[in-house]
């Protein structure tokens, strides 16, 4: 059976290639995977997991970390340092064989689905008791004018020698589909399940998972939709003297049918895309 029996152009991507690409993104754009306060970014030894960037990051002075505001201590002007890092990210196209899904996600991986494994590490800069004691606010001066407005002052960062770190394994299952919005096709990732391993008590785990799922479904995944607009490729741009007009090939997704039940398809450790091509 040929690759193009049900389409004009066929493209497939193996999970090993995807994971290799993820490792390149992680080393060449570490700021997508590491978030921390400015103090932690300046003192990288405070991070929960060491970053191993590509040399170009140092040559071009690119950031290792996306700098975040400190975590505020409620009711005070104080803030604490923190860091959140995605230290491992792996994708597994059906059939599942890159990692084991937790029981909560009903392994094995369903047909036409992909799994994602994330290892997240994070920590906050909890000051020692002696330092905390120095920052405990004094009672209000009873003689102070009660009508005097309090000035807005910048957050005062509590000093820290190290972060109190933890690591979590999280798993997600989902897929990729083509959906029409406003009459136009979009390539859309979707989420079936999400599980953080080994958080107690169960209510806390469920609450955190709920919050992550809400964030993914309502914010992150809609932002990853790709409009499958017609993509023209000029195949004769290298020889304008011989081809005064461009030779374009316009690409669009092949419609599903009994002979092509899934497009895109996630099977045989591959993400497969079936494309209709029109030469103009």
């Amino acid at each position: 059976m040929g690759f193009t029996d049900n389409c004009d152009i066929f493209a497939s991507f193996h999970e090993d290639g995807f994971n290799q690409i993820l490792s390149h993104i992680k080393s060449q754009r570490p700021s997508l995977f590491n978030y921390a306060t400015a103090d932690v970014a300046k003192n990288r030894e405070l991070l929960c997991s060491a970053i191993e960037p590509h040399p170009i990051i140092f040559i071009r002075n690119n950031p290792l970390v996306t700098i975040m505001d400190p975590l505020p201590v409620p009711g005070t002007n104080y803030g604490v340092n923190f860091a959140v890092q995605i230290v491992e990210m792996k994708i597994d196209f059906h059939p599942g064989n890159q990692f084991n899904l937790p029981p909560e996600l009903n392994p094995p991986l369903n047909v036409q689905r992909l799994g994602i494994k994330l290892r997240l590490c994070g920590g906050i800069g909890c000051p020692g008791k002696d330092i905390i004691d120095q920052f405990i606010p004094l009672p209000e001066d009873p003689d102070k004018n009660p009508n005097r407005q309090q000035e807005k002052v910048p957050l005062i960062l509590l000093p820290v020698r190290q972060l109190t770190c933890f690591c979590l394994d999280a798993y997600a299952t989902g897929g990729i589909r083509i959906v029409n919005y406003h009459g136009r096709p979009y390539l859309e990732p979707f989420l079936d399940g999400f599980e953080i391993v080994d958080i107690e008590p169960t209510g806390l785990e469920n609450s955190i998972e709920c919050y992550v799922v809400l964030t993914l479904k309502l914010s992150v995944l809609p932002g990853l939709r790709i409009l499958l607009k017609e993509m023209p490729l000029n195949l004769t741009q290298g020889a304008p003297d011989l081809f005064p007009k461009p030779t374009n090939i316009v690409l669009s997704p092949t419609s599903v049918s009994p002979t092509l039940p899934n497009n895109p398809a996630i099977e045989e450790d591959l993400l497969k895309v079936f494309i209709k091509a029109e030469v103009i």
Partner: protein
């Protein structure tokens, strides 16, 4: 299993062939001095007909592709030996010269004396057949200084990035060129006659008749000057093919396009999968580098149904 597989059906190939064929245009002109005559040509051509076939032996065959000569003007400039008439005595004075002389008129004193253009465009048919295989080559940019990193190479103007290049590598090219219609002989004779009539137009009738009588058959004269054998078509064909090298030019054009001058697709290596972006943090640098993935083991092959490109992420 390959990390990336891309396959295109024969139907796509046929569509591409037709689009490329229909968009293909070429023009060229040249001139040369060949002793007793000089010549120049100006041509414009496009492609028509033919078909493409993916074959089970990993080759692609393009058959009977016609070159249509929208314009192929061949201009010949001919140097005819000088002919003088007149100058003889009409009324002689016995033993004392001449009372009245006929005026002496010389023609064909310039070089060339006559010039005429043969519009051969509609009279020539040419056909190309090519058997080729698809070829993926890795091109290291020779202008790139050693030690330059891939990001500096991409930023250079022009880019110094390395590329994977996809070519059609010709195994067999058959160019059946310049099948010239036999009316070209009449065309040459008429054009030469008209050019001579035009040149002699200023002469009185008696002088023109006299000169044409001396010249005899114009076509015989032209044949003699141009050293044309019996077959005028073959002479013109040789002039265009051999003397001007149009055959070599077309072969070179086809071979260059198919083989090494014009890759049909370029893939930068490493391939920028994420473009440069704004720095998420305040301060310098304002932009952070694109993310590039090395492409390895890229290969291309075909059977009688489809062309397949496969590669790995390094």
């Amino acid at each position: 299993m390959a990390h990336i597989t891309i396959a295109a059906s024969e139907k796509v190939f046929k569509g591409l062939f037709e689009a490329i064929r229909d968009n293909f245009r070429f023009t060229r002109s040249d001139s040369g001095d060949f002793g007793p005559f000089n010549a120049a040509y100006s041509l414009e051509a496009h492609l028509q007909g033919g078909n493409v076939d993916l074959r089970a032996d990993n080759t692609v065959q393009i058959k009977e592709l016609d070159i249509k000569w929208d314009k192929l003007d061949l201009t010949l400039g001919i140097d005819i030996p000088e002919i003088c008439v007149g100058g003889f005595c009409i009324i002689p004075i016995p033993f004392d010269g001449c009372l009245l002389e006929a005026p002496k008129i010389c023609v064909f004193s310039a070089d060339p004396d006559i010039s005429f253009t043969l519009p051969l465009g509609g009279l020539i048919t040419s056909e190309i057949s090519v058997t080729a295989s698809l070829l993926m080559k890795y091109a290291t940019n020779t202008a790139r200084p050693s030690g330059m990193n891939d990001w500096d190479a991409q930023d250079a103007t022009p880019s110094l990035a390395n590329h994977w290049q996809l070519f059609i590598d010709p195994k067999f090219i058959d160019v059946d060129i310049f099948d010239i219609a036999d009316i070209v002989g009449d065309l040459l004779e008429k054009a030469a006659n008209a050019a001579i009539d035009n040149l002699l137009g200023f002469l009185p009738d008696w002088a023109r008749d006299l000169i044409k009588a001396i010249l005899g058959s114009v076509i015989d004269l032209i044949r003699k000057i141009l050293d044309i054998p019996d077959d005028i078509q073959e002479w013109i064909s040789n002039l265009l093919k051999v003397s001007f090298g149009i055959l070599d030019f077309i072969l070179q054009l086809v071979a260059d396009y198919l083989a090494n001058k014009y890759p049909i697709q370029l893939i930068e290596d490493p391939y920028p999968i994420l473009p440069a972006a704004n720095n998420p943090n305040p301060g310098a640098p304002l932009r952070i580098v694109p993310v590039k993935i090395p492409i390895r083991d890229l290969k291309v092959f075909n059977d009688d149904k489809e062309m397949v490109l496969q590669g790995n992420v390094g």
